[in-house]
Amino acid sequence: MTDDPNKVWPTGLTIGEAEEIHSHIVDGTRIYGAISIVAHFLAYIYTPWLH
């Protein structure tokens, strides 16, 4: 895979643009994961789940 930063790939993105999109996806996944951890912690406290 070439590392030419100006090459436009078949999806119409450059390497920098693709990595920027990916960083936003990773951030969103972290936020989603944090919210789900809190939700499951509350579910563990207030329901018989896993007791």
Binding site: P10, T11, L13, A18, E19, H22, T47
Partner: protein, 75 residues
């Protein structure tokens, strides 16, 4: 990070919705199974069960709802 380069060959307009739908579908399936295979999850979602149990245990059962005045006094 090498994984960001996947968007060079997968269009984000296709890949991101596919990933989101996969996550939502999996989550929905798991929670639906819990809802249909347990007794406490439907009761938890129904709400008010803990308050009813507490009232019964203490002998303080809530009074039955009264009919509207217009209906109660009508003859």
């Amino acid at each position: 990070m090498i994984y960001g380069r996947m968007w060079l060959v997968i269009k984000p307009g296709i890949g991101i919705p596919m990933g989101a739908v996969a996550i939502m579908g999996t989550s929905l399936a798991v929670h639906t199974c819990i809802l249909t295979h347990t007794t406490w999850f439907p009761a938890f979602l129904q709400g008010g069960v803990k308050a009813q149990h507490a009232a019964v245990e203490t002998g303080k059962v809530a009074a039955a709802p009264q009919p509207p005045i217009a209906v109660a006094s009508a003859k």
